[in-house]
Amino acid sequence: MAKITFITSDNETITLEGTSGSVMALAVDNGIKGIDGDCGGVCSCATCHVHVAAEDMDKTGSASEIEADMLELDDNVDEFSRLCCQLEISDSIDGIVLKVAK
């Protein structure tokens, strides 16, 4: 079980609990604004872009090369950017805070 907090672009804070699957799927299932996950989680649409809180980066790790290539051309990209379809829910990411990019 992991608790994951999303902060949307209108500064709403929502904390969700999940046990498996991707963070994107959890967000989409719960209607988190700004996370569309159009491609269903195969890293082709970049509609699940989040900024990981700096202190949580060691839990999530940084983007893979393919993910970074997708993010590279996004206007809001920074060193904390991840596509959350590539974040698997597990105990090890419990407590992370994600700021939705869009």
Binding site: G40, S44, I66, Q86
Partner: protein, 426 residues
């Protein structure tokens, strides 16, 4: 052996001329394009004609009605150039960024497709929520009912021509949902045939295009008189930069909606059926693991790349892959080639149904990515679900390939006709 030689020729490692000369020298009969089909392992296979050029230089050239196109073939270049709307513009003369060019058959600017940022974003914001409606459960229920009825009607039919009797009605009926138009309108659209700008064969046909334009004009006039809940009415009541959209702007969005999602959806549906015919185990897998269907849809879009390429007009002298490109000439973003780029996709020429990382550009990329993608994805998802639920196997009786002739390259994009039989799951 013959297949290997065939692939060498097909992929450009061996020129056709040299090959024919070689055959003459050794007294062998060269095989020709008509017998090509025998050399495909599978009818559903779409070979990648771009591999050699993509590896060697990264671009290809094609002439198109005396307005040549430099085709970008590598995924990274395609993405970068798609994103760089200042150098590679869409807001050129209407029809010019399409390959083959449509400048001779239309003056209406397709919106938001042929507009660049920042205006593009404002137009896109008007239509984006409407085009996300396929995510709503009631939309999906209606689409499921449509597809389910269609499939029930063709099960066990002895000889079904997929394009005209299945893919075209499916696409047209689904479009009534996207437009929120009466279901009966689909009959009119079906009667137009598979391509709204082209008659049978390749040539652009202005008479045919006019059928669509006149129809849309009539529909806009109807919606002006009797506003309803349909897409025409929504657009007529929307504003761009503080002013109501003009009829011409509304027409521009509607032409895009009709043209962009027609042969693309038809190709995706038809190619999916031919794949399933040759891979019945995929249907079985969808029954056992329905959760992979979303991934399978993305993989089909990558592999089939229903739209081969989209052009841009170069605004200043520049270069791609160390090749100089002059201002006011054209490049194209070759989605079909980028989607087989082995530097990104492992086993690019194989369909891996549950491919986990799949950063394809089958729906384009960046600002101008496909507006209809949400609708298209739902169509394919529901189609695969429905077929898995009702169909045991599909048999291909006969088919004719649809080959795009792109000068240096010949790309199979799907079929001109394909006759099959669906065997129901009992």
């Amino acid at each position: 052996m013959n297949r290997i030689v065939y692939l060498l020729v097909k992929n450009g490692y061996l020129s056709e001329k040299n090959y024919i000369q070689f055959c003459r020298t050794i007294g062998e009969i060269p095989f020709n394009k008509i017998s090509n089909q025998d050399y495909h392992m599978k009818k559903s296979e779409l070979p990648d004609p771009f591999e050699k050029a993509r590896l060697d230089k990264g671009y290809g050239k094609m002439n198109d009605q005396n307005d040549p196109v430099t085709m970008l073939l590598r995924l990274k270049d395609v993405r970068k150039s798609a994103h760089d709307y200042k150098t590679f513009q869409s807001a050129a003369k209407p029809g010019r960024i399409v390959v083959p060019s449509e400048v001779n058959i239309r003056d209406t600017r397709q919106i938001p497709f042929e507009v660049d940022p920042p205006q593009h974003g404002e137009y896109r914001a008007i239509v984006e929520p409407w085009f996300k409606r396929p995510l709503l459960p009631e939309y999906q229920e209606k689409l499921t009912a449509q597809i389910s009825t269609l499939v029930d009607g063709i099960l066990n039919k002895d000889n079904l021509e997929v394009i005209n009797e299945f893919a075209l009605p499916l696409q047209s009926r689904a479009l009534t949902l996207l437009l929120n138009a009466p279901y009966s309108e689909a009959e009119t659209w079906i009667s137009w045939g598979t391509h709204v700008f082209r008659s049978e064969g390749e040539a652009l046909d202005s008479d045919k295009a006019n059928i669509l334009y006149n129809y849309i004009d009539d529909q806009i006039d109807r919606a002006v008189k009797n506003p309803g809940e349909d897409m025409y009415s929504l657009l007529l009541s929307s504003e761009f930069q503080g002013k109501k959209l003009t009829k011409e702007e509304v027409k521009g969005v509607m032409v895009l909606t009709f043209a962009g999602g027609r042969d693309t959806v038809i190709n995706a549906v038809t190619n999916s059926i031919s794949y399933l015919a040759e891979h019945p185990e995929a249907l079985e897998r969808f029954r056992k693991e329905p959760e992979i269907i979303g991934k399978a849809v993305e993989e089909f879009i990558r592999y089939f790349s229903p739209l081969t390429q989209m052009g841009r007009v170069v605004t200043e002298d520049t270069q791609v892959c160390e090749h100089a490109i002059k201002a006011d000439s054209r490049i194209s973003l070759c989605w079909a080639s980028a989607n087989r780029d082995a530097s990104v996709f492992e086993s690019p020429n194989e369909i891996v149904l549950d491919r986990k990382i799949n950063p394809h550009v089958g729906f384009g990329f960046s600002h101008h990515n496909c507006l209809g993608a949400t609708h298209a994805r739902q169509i394919l998802k529901i189609l695969l679900n429905t077929l898995a639920e009702k169909v045991e196997s599909i048999e291909i009786m006969d088919c004719k390939e649809n080959i795009e002739h792109l000068d240096e390259f010949e790309r199979k994009v799907g079929f001109n006709s394909i006759h099959v039989k669906f065997k129901s799951l009992t």
